[in-house]
């Protein structure tokens, strides 16, 4: 029989990947269908939180990438229309979170950085996708919106940079909060598993 740890690795990747996939298929499709703003950021933050919790429960390097691959595969098999964008996002987020917690494990600090980077990725991917599909003028529109927001919010004049900075700060803080919650959930889960074993 092969080493049981290998099967445990794939077992954790399968169940946590399935849980992430279940949320992506149901909540993700629901949020996208309702056109709720920043749904990508919320889903990225949730994914990062789930991966951080997984890494806390099963602290083996690579398990988060495996869970991301499983989740992307589940998304591919789902009946939803658009799957390529979410699949790319899932894979990129799992790689980012794995890279962030690689050295120090899933701590609250690394969890917050991982959540923030996953949330930032979702914004970046949206911008890149829109630029690819709609062309470069979309950047001009965003610049115009940023300038207008700067005037409305009475931020210091900086060609829209202050508004973009404020927006990205909100995204980073939101993502970091998801990461911290993920670390707490992982810690609480470990404690209950130990209690159940004893």
């Amino acid at each position: 029989m092969r080493n049981l740890e290998t099967y445990r690795f794939w077992g954790y990747a399968a169940t946590f990947g399935a849980l992430w996939g279940a949320v992506e298929i149901t909540v993700g499709s629901f949020l996208h269908a309702l056109r709720i703003p920043f749904s990508g950021v919320v889903l990225a933050g949730f994914g990062a939180a789930l991966l951080i919790a997984l890494r806390r429960v099963f602290p083996v390097p690579g398990v988060m990438i495996a869970a991301g691959l499983v989740c992307a595969g589940v998304k591919l098999l789902s009946p939803a229309g658009a799957v390529v964008g979410p699949m790319v996002a899932i894979l990129a987020e799992s790689l980012l979170v794995e890279a962030t917690v690689r050295w120090r494990g899933a701590t609250i600090l690394s969890g917050s950085v991982a959540g923030a980077s996953a949330a930032l990725w979702s914004v970046l991917q949206k911008l890149v996708t829109q630029t690819l599909f709609f062309g470069m003028p979309v950047l001009g529109i965003y610049q115009g919106i940023a300038r207008q927001a700067e005037r409305t919010l009475r931020l210091p004049a900086s060609e829209g940079l202050a508004a973009v900075g404020l927006f990205l700060s909100i995204v980073v803080i939101g993502g970091a909060m998801f990461g911290v919650v993920g670390a707490w959930v992982g810690k609480a889960t470990c404690r209950r598993l130990v209690q159940a074993e004893s």
Binding site: M1, Y7, G11, Y12, A18, L69, V74, G140, Q148
Partner: protein
Amino acid sequence: MNFGRLSLLVAVALLVGLLLVPAVWHLPIGIAGWWILRWGARDVHRNLGRPWRWLQVLFVLTVLGGFFGPADTQWLSVSWSWAGVLAGCTMVVRAFALVSLMSLITSVLPVRRWVERVQHPVLRRLIEVVVVAANLVPVQLNALGVASMTLKERRPGLLNFPLRIWLLAVHSALHAAMLAESVALDMAIAAHNASDQGKISS
């Protein structure tokens, strides 16, 4: 001409048209391309999203373009951008052409055949695990639903909502961890039985 070829032709014609034709004609050629796909390649057209959604995108982008583009026109004593409106139309037609091209490419790619041909042990294992995970999705959703209902009965009210979310998150992680152990055991037993059967048959 089959659906695939027609949609490829329309998408490429739209992209070339955007390069060669003046901006004022981009929306009419986009509508013509949509009309040809709508009546000539219904299978492809079904994957392009609802017409209402494209109209929404067109409205948003032309309004934003007119508002934020270079002010070159006066209308009802308000200065707005005709160039921005045209740029909005061009963006939508370009996106429509690219989406139809992408939709055709993804529908033509033989993903299932590629998956069946994979021989690499790690990739094969990953495919098996994805199939297991896809079967676990309804189980996870059911468990989430039951846990959510139980928590709502035990701790009702809006004030308890954050606590309910927290307990649901911990419960889900705990359930996934316990399920992972049983899935790992099942996989190990299945592999052991498969190797035993191999020995018997050989």
